[in-house]
């Protein structure tokens, strides 16, 4: 799947492991939480960068103290209507202080990209044929935001206070 990270197409260094695939020793990989729980020691041994893919009903809090040892958390959208990942991404950035890559995977819409970006996603697995201009457009459709979020965008209230007083 093409991967957009920080607004550009990048090669994805991470191998997505099925639950029966052998653990690589020499390249980054992403695996399910269920498998991580079973094979934690092997997964954490070794020097490869590693990531965990969470289902929409799996809270990042389940990663516990292992979170700092992950460089990627992939959050799944089983269908675009399932908006739990917006809260999980937010939680990763705020409560859990995760500074690594938060990757969107699964079925999400172009129209959700702006919201995802605002809540802390910085990488997006997009369908084949998805154009980079679409990504840029998605981020720019709505100029002003009312709510503060983890993206640090200036809110309307802050813009208002910055206006010269009349």
């Amino acid at each position: 799947m093409p991967l957009i990270k920080n607004g550009v197409f990048v090669d994805d260094p991470y191998a997505k492991l099925g639950d029966a695939d052998p653990l690589p020793t020499d390249r980054p990989f992403v695996l399910s939480l269920a498998r991580f729980r079973k094979e934690r020691d092997q997964v954490l041994a070794g020097n490869s960068a590693r990531g965990i893919q969470l289902k929409s009903d799996e809270s990042p809090e389940a990663l516990g103290h292992d979170l700092p040892r992950l460089s990627v958390v992939a959050l799944e959208f089983p269908k675009f209507r399932d908006g739990r990942a917006f809260s999980w991404a937010r939680m990763l950035r705020t409560r859990l202080g995760f500074a690594g890559e938060i990757r969107a995977t699964g079925h999400f819409l172009y129209d959700q990209i702006n919201f995802m970006h605002r809540t802390g996603f910085d990488a997006f697995e997009v369908p084949d044929g998805f154009r980079l201009e679409e990504f840029a457009r998605a981020l720019g459709e709505i100029t002003n935001v009312y709510q503060p979020s983890v993206d640090g965008r200036t809110t309307v209230r802050a813009l208002r206070s910055a206006l010269p007083r009349s």
Binding site: G83, R84, F86, T94, E141, V145, Q147, P148, R160
Partner: protein, 552 residues
């Protein structure tokens, strides 16, 4: 009322273009219907039986005259000359065309209106007391807070794909005119013993297939913490609300599955964290800045008894009847709150014609009224009329067909569009409202009955709020035939309760008679000036049930 600044205006214009882009992608097939549907719903656009239905947001039910004129223009130009006010203070157009909706939105943006989040699994229109700023029992005007909540909830990045819809109401008085406890979340402005103002937050109320009365999740939230608290509730809901079953996805299910103790614990946890971060602090200056928009008009010093009013009451029986039911005491001497009933005999509850919209705008200009309100009971309210102007106002309303003197009476029925319009409906609701209204047409009989809230829904989604009706009617489909279930004893006020189902459903031509027999029991058995609701609560279901089924 609130006026957009450049930032608000920009957001709404951006949204119009965003929606235009979405419509074009849909027409070209770049979006499937399955993908487009939640996007169009988030812009208030349903596909109904005859056409698309567009639901226009009327934040906390407040409108200006120029907005009425724009709605009249839209009704003429893009629809069939009328609109329908809903139980969430919004307006619906029932004959919209998808290809024209972006243009309609652009026109709405010209008068600071939009259709954002009037449907979809997101935070919906913020409703508030239709008597805000005028009611004698008001602690504080709820609308500044409602406006702040509106902005916080608009295109919220985390809460735009909730398990299900989320409805918020705000009340600023002791008497609840907004059905707070039937909302997903509600804020009641309260005063503590020290006289300080704070917010009681309810959650977990809802209508629909499994109605629930909400409970307090926050007893006294400080002013500057309120957004942090509301965000905490939404976060708990977005994370843990059920996503496996459409009928169990509202917060009411979560709130009652967890129970108050656990729900409060989870909300507290999120709240403490958000509050500590300071990101959603609501500074006093910001609240004061918004409050300025809702400053009351400059009231004149007037005597509370007005000779012109008194004379008209004596000489004009129609005016006297109207004054009797449709006027509510204003907090300022010499003023009155007028309810404009949209339930004329033989009419469709909540409907308004383009001529009436324009006529009301003219009336507002003539009498210096900067605001008109929509109530969740599908009527309109002029909140700040001088008593001396009332006879002339009444004459103008009469000429417009807007002077029906039945506010709060049996024919002031709340009714959803039902199967005549709505794709979700199981039965027609409007003809039933008309049959029932016909039975109670006699005004003296209505006065003899007194306060009676009849609410009718055409399906389990309960847009007619039938669970909160003193008498509630639910249309059902039994083997392809329309039947009507009768419920008694519901209330949407501060004494919130869910109506009790009486028994087997009635046929279309039986239901009005059953309702009449039920009311007859009340008339025969009431004591001490009880309302219907009080008598029902005192006697219980048995005598009413017996009478309802007596003709079988």
């Amino acid at each position: 009322m609130y006026r957009y600044d450049e930032f608000d205006a920009r957001l709404v214009r951006d949204r119009v273009e965003q929606f235009r882009y979405q419509v074009n992608r849909r027409l070209k097939g770049e979006l499937s219907e399955d993908e487009f549907k939640p996007l169009r719903l988030m812009n208030g656009l349903y596909l109904q039986i005859h056409a698309y239905m567009l639901r226009i947001a009327i934040p906390y039910g407040t409108l200006a005259a120029r907005q009425l004129r724009k709605l009249a223009h839209l009704a003429r130009t893009y629809d069939k000359g009328y609109g329908h006010f809903t139980t969430r203070q919004n307006l619906q157009f029932h004959w919209a065309k998808l290809v024209q909706v972006p243009d309609m939105l652009a026109e709405l943006a010209e008068v600071e209106m939009h259709c954002l989040q009037t449907s979809g699994n997101c935070i919906r229109n913020i409703s508030a007391d239709q008597f805000a700023g005028a009611a004698a029992d008001e602690i504080e005007d709820p609308r500044p807070l409602a406006e702040i909540i509106r902005q916080w909830s608009t295109l919220h990045p985390e809460f735009s794909f909730l398990p299900r819809k989320f409805k918020i109401a705000v009340s600023g008085s002791e008497h609840d005119r907004t059905a707070l406890k039937f909302h997903d979340m509600a804020v009641q402005i309260v005063r503590n013993e020290a006289g300080e103002i704070g917010y009681r937050v309810y959650a977990g109320g809802g209508m629909g297939r499994t109605p629930y009365v909400g409970y307090a999740v926050g007893d006294f939230i400080a002013r500057n913490d309120i957004l942090a608290f509301l965000e905490a509730v939404l976060r708990v809901y977005n994370m843990h609300g059920r996503r496996d079953n459409l009928w169990k996805a509202r917060i009411k299910i979560l709130a009652h599955a967890l129970g108050p103790e656990e729900m409060r614990r989870q909300v507290e946890r999120e709240f403490e964290e958000i509050r500590a971060s300071g990101t959603l602090a609501l500074p006093a200056e910001e609240l004061a800045r918004i409050e300025k928009y809702f400053a009351p008009p400059a009231f004149e010093t007037l005597p509370d008894d007005d000779p012109a009013f008194a004379a008209a009451e004596k000489s004009d029986p129609d005016f006297a009847n109207w004054a009797r039911t449709n006027l509510t005491r204003h907090r300022i001497a010499g003023y009155a709150i007028a309810t404009i009933s949209l339930k004329p005999p033989g009419g469709v509850p909540g409907d308004i014609s383009h001529e009436q919209l324009d006529g009301l705008a003219d009336l507002m200009d003539t009498f210096g009224q900067t605001e008109i309100r929509v109530s969740h009971e599908q009527n309109l309210v002029l909140p700040h009329l001088r008593k001396k102007d009332l006879p002339a106002v009444f004459a103008r309303l009469k000429a417009l067909g807007l002077a029906t003197a039945n506010a709060g009476l049996a024919t002031d029925i709340i009714c959803c569009p039902g199967l005549d319009y709505c794709d979700l409906a199981n039965a027609r609701s409007i003809p039933v409202a008309q049959h029932i209204a016909e039975r109670f047409a006699d005004l003296e009989k209505q006065h003899a009955i007194g306060e009676l809230k009849i609410k009718i829904s055409g399906c389990i989604n309960a847009c007619g709020h039938h669970h909160a009706g003193h008498i509630g009617v639910l249309g059902v489909d039994k083997k392809g035939v329309e039947y009507y279930q009768l419920q008694l004893g519901g209330s949407g006020a501060e004494d919130a309760s869910i109506g009790d189902i009486l028994g087997p459903a009635f046929g279309e031509h039986e239901i009005a008679g059953a309702v009449e027999r039920v009311v007859d029991v009340y008339l025969a058995r009431r004591v001490n000036g009880e309302r219907f609701l009080d008598t029902y609560r005192r006697l219980g279901m048995a005598p009413f049930k017996e009478a309802a089924y007596a003709a079988h």
